[in-house]
């Protein structure tokens, strides 16, 4: 999730600043080096992609970005235009495996959790150095968490993520130079995601922190490592270090000679010498430069696929269509519609929406294949879960971080007869022969279906769904509306009837607790569940608490699997449609280009997500 590849160009010599001060590198491979063994199951590529392989060192790789960085200060960064660079300069105690998405040890080589779950002890890799040759120790870890992230003087988005459910914060303590203890007032598994935070160099940055250096005013750190910083001052534990920066032109990054990752040939990564990120005006320019061979990799849109497919053979590049992306697309029916108004018609609709048979009928009426073929040109797969497919907790896997087999998938075949049967069973039938079903009181079952105007995929989904729901006798009034208006209606409790929208996704299902918990701020289909939860919502709440309350990822997987299956079988607060395939393209001169995925490049930047690509 942190890795994005930046390229360094020979033009670094013409940069505004000098080359970063770097040391000479390790004399021998550190004993605690992290080893990428591509022959192990964790590195097995999904989707039939070619296996990764040991590469050779050398060369410069080029990618692009459509915005300049705003700073080199990772802790205070609020924007991906900065973190796409800083995520290459730094590393955390743990990180997501670029293939499986599972949490793996990085700067920490191992950890233990006490029996009561109240203490996590991290054992750091020993003998590592910052890019300037200074030793990496527990002091840097404690500094990062205690003096930066949890320092109220520091303007960081990371602090909120450290808060435990009981309102306390972890207490991070140095035990010795290579051991860090984290005390937790409550077991909270998602806290581990916070240990992916990039570790900062104390020897460089402590000087800017008022609590450590009273000579500087409080808040000085917020201005540290701006773009005017001499790159010689920057240092990190990541694969690359900024060598030069030319606004609106490029960022040049060179290899970190003390990067601690090696392959099984004892070759130190990163393989490439330099990364250059060219600043371009638009995605169109990126595409053009990629076609011209000026860029080595690119995250592409489905609409780019035909253009690049015709050039794939001629220009020796690869168009990779991979697994799903983070996020969901769904239709949802408001189970609180008109709850407090006492309007008989609204009561009818609300009761209909609350009937699981109705939501199952809709599930059978969503023609996912049509959506895939007509709206996504085949570049999507059926979606059934609220957890994104790249997540290691996705229940389409058989175990945490395992390959996607869909053996657990809850599917509703596109079957209008089955859909109609559910509606018949509810008791809403066409009594007057006008083609539409009526409630018992004779009023037509008429539903307002909304989505945000201008989103052609969602509008297309609505039109397909409208046609199918009308085919089973439901009168659907489709109305695209302004996005902010739609959000207001969605969050308004009683306002919307049916809506098509999407949610972002992430690696940890806990990130969706604001949607799935009956008390969640985005539990939009049943806000009254906060006070009067359904039995199934009570169970969902329990499962989310259980999932967050164990540090055992395998155990947590089972809880979240049950939650996903329950949601699909018995809740259906959202009827999911399809998940867009991830699409990337890279020049065939790039080895290991197939690593590109949403796990490696969650923002879709560049398409090349990691430190193991090389030039053939």
């Amino acid at each position: 999730m942190k890795r994005a590849i930046a390229l360094l160009s020979i033009l670094a010599m013409a940069g505004l600043f000098g080359i970063a001060a770097v040391g000479a590198g390790y004399e021998t491979q550190p004993a605690d080096a992290r080893i990428y063994d591509y022959s192990t199951p964790e590195w097995e590529m999904p989707d039939g992609s070619p296996a990764l392989e040991n590469g050779t060192r050398g060369g410069t790789v080029y990618v692009s970005a459509i915005s300049n960085p705003r700073k080199w200060n990772d802790v205070t960064a609020h924007e991906t235009s900065t973190t796409q660079y800083t995520n290459l300069m730094f590393d955390g105690l743990v990180d997501l495996h670029p293939v499986t998405g599972a949490l793996v040890p990085t700067l920490a080589k191992s950890w233990e959790i006490s029996e009561d779950g109240g203490t996590v002890t991290f054992h750091l890799r020993q003998g590592l150095k910052w890019s300037d040759g200074v030793d990496f120790t527990a002091d840097d870890v404690v500094f990062t968490f205690n003096d930066l992230i949890m320092n109220p003087d520091v303007e960081t988005d990371s602090r909120d993520g450290m808060e435990l459910p009981d309102g306390n914060y972890p207490v991070v303590t140095k035990i010795d130079d290579y051991t860090v203890e984290v005390k937790l007032s409550t077991i909270f598994r998602p806290i581990f995601n916070q240990f992916t935070f990039n570790i900062m160099p104390k020897h460089k940055l402590a000087q800017y922190v008022h609590k450590l250096n009273p000579d500087v005013p409080a808040g000085t750190f917020n201005e540290a490592w701006g773009l005017d910083t001499d790159p010689a001052e920057l240092c990190g534990m990541g694969p690359f270090i900024v060598a030069s920066y030319q606004p609106d032109q490029q960022v040049v990054m060179t290899r970190n000679p003390y990067y601690y990752v090696y392959d099984t040939n004892r070759t130190q990564l990163p393989y490439v010498d330099k990364y250059v990120i060219l600043t371009v005006a638009s995605q169109d320019v990126s595409l053009l430069k990629f076609r011209n061979g000026e860029l080595d990799g690119l995250g592409i849109r489905p609409s780019d696929v035909p253009l690049l497919k015709r050039e794939e053979a001629v220009k020796d590049l690869t168009v990779k269509v991979g697994g799903g992306v983070y996020g969901t697309l769904w239709v949802s029916f408001n189970e609180d519609y008109g709850l407090t108004e006492g309007d008989p018609y609204k009561d009818n609709l609300r009761n209909l929406f609350r009937d699981l048979r109705f939501r199952k009928a809709v599930s059978h009426a969503v023609d996912k294949q049509s959506i895939i073929d007509n709206l996504y040109n085949g570049l999507a797969t059926p979606q059934w879960s609220f957890v994104s497919t790249p997540s290691p907790f996705y229940a389409g896997r058989d175990y945490y971080g395992g390959p996607v087999t869909e053996s657990n998938a809850v599917t509703y075949e596109y079957d209008l007869a089955a859909a109609a049967a559910y509606l018949d069973d509810i008791g809403i039938v066409d009594t007057n022969g006008d083609g539409y079903r009526e409630f018992a009181d004779g009023s037509t079952v008429e539903i307002l279906l909304e989505t945000n105007a201008g989103n052609t995929l969602r509008e297309g989904f609505c039109l397909i769904l409208q046609e199918d729901l009308e085919a089973i006798g439901l009168k659907i009034n489709f109305q695209p509306v302004d996005f902010n208006t739609l959000v207001t209606r969605l969050l308004g409790g009683e306002l919307y009837q049916a809506a098509v929208l999407g949610l972002t996704g992430g690696d940890d299902p806990h990130g969706g607790s604001n949607v799935q918990l009956s008390t969640g701020g985005l539990h939009f289909w049943h806000y009254s569940g906060a006070e009067e939860p359904y039995d199934i919502e009570v169970r969902m709440n329990e499962l989310f608490a259980l999932g967050a309350g164990t540090f055992d990822n395998d155990e947590a997987f089972e809880y979240y699997k049950e939650a996903q299956i329950l949601f699909a079988e018995q809740m259906l607060g959202m009827v999911f449609s399809v998940n867009q395939a991830s699409t990337y393209s890279f020049q065939n001169r790039l080895g290991n280009g197939y690593i590109a995925s949403p796990i490696c490049s969650p923002s879709g930047n560049n398409g090349l997500g990691y430190d193991l690509v090389y030039l053939k």
């Binding site: 053009l288 035909p306 015709r310 053979a313």
Partner: protein, 263 residues
């Protein structure tokens, strides 16, 4: 592809067979020999051009702008002229939009104009789609109209479908828009609306209009590259195809041969 019957003289057959001993890919000396050979240029200019395509990078690195411009216009063989034009595009990439536009629309050798349009596209791509559309209709030269049409379809790719391109390929407001609609359509025939190699080859030969033939040829080139045809196969093919009767088909084989030379 079934092996075509050779219809050229024995002397040429010997030359081609000899060159083809290298199998896939040729080294620099071989490419130069082909590109600069007057005999090959006379008998099989397509082969000469294909070799020239692969020499472009070397020309860009070893020759001056003035030398390249001269070779574009006066090079002795199609291969030399092709190499020079492609190399000139690389050299021109440092020019301003004003300079490139002047070259692309000037009363100069069409090959020079064509060389200028490749780097000019990096500026054209920033224009609004409507403006590109107008330029594709009324641009001062065929080269600028073609470049604008290319960028127009790139800018509007989110809305493209095979069906819309099939219409545009045969009926647009300019030949250049029809041509580029065909090029973009070729990509659909390799992806979202996949056609077989046989289907696209038939389209390249007998499509209902020039734009559809271009679509077929565009897709065919990819198939020709990926189906493992040898240099020899392709050299024979390009000499077999009647350029007057099947120009689009010939282009597909020429492009595949150029790729084979460079592999």
């Amino acid at each position: 592809m079934k092996r075509a019957t050779l219809q050229i003289g024995l002397f040429t057959l010997v030359i081609i067979a000899g060159l083809a001993f290298a199998g896939f890919g040729l080294d620099r000396n071989e490419l130069v020999a082909i590109a600069e050979s007057g005999t090959i240029n006379r008998i099989a200019p397509s082969i000469s051009m294909a070799a020239g395509t692969e020499l472009a990078k070397e020309y860009a690195e070893t020759k001056t702008q003035a030398e390249l411009e001269n070779l574009v216009m006066n090079g002795a063989t199609a291969g030399i002229r092709t190499a020079a034009r492609l190399a000139l595009s690389i050299v021109y990439s440092s020019k301003t939009v004003v300079e490139l536009t002047a070259l692309a629309t000037g009363d100069i050798d069409p090959a020079i104009r064509k060389a200028a349009t490749a780097p000019l596209q990096l500026f054209l791509v920033e224009m609004a789609a409507d403006d590109l559309y107008q330029m594709a209709i009324s641009g001062a030269t065929k080269e600028i109209r073609l470049a604008a049409a290319d960028m127009y379809y790139l800018k509007t790719r989110d809305n493209l479908t095979a069906a819309s391109l099939e219409v545009a390929a045969c009926s647009s407001d300019s030949e250049e828009l029809e041509y580029m609609a065909g090029v973009y359509l070729g990509g659909f025939y390799l992806s979202f609306n996949k056609k077989t190699m046989e289907q696209v080859e038939a389209l390249a030969k007998s499509g209902a209009c020039a734009g559809l033939k271009v679509a077929g040829a565009t897709a065919l080139t990819s198939y020709l590259i990926t189906t493992g045809l040898t240099v020899e196969d392709l050299e024979v093919a390009v000499t077999e195809i009647d350029p007057a009767k099947y120009p689009e088909l010939l282009t597909a084989y020429e492009d595949a041969l150029a790729h084979a030379y460079g592999s």
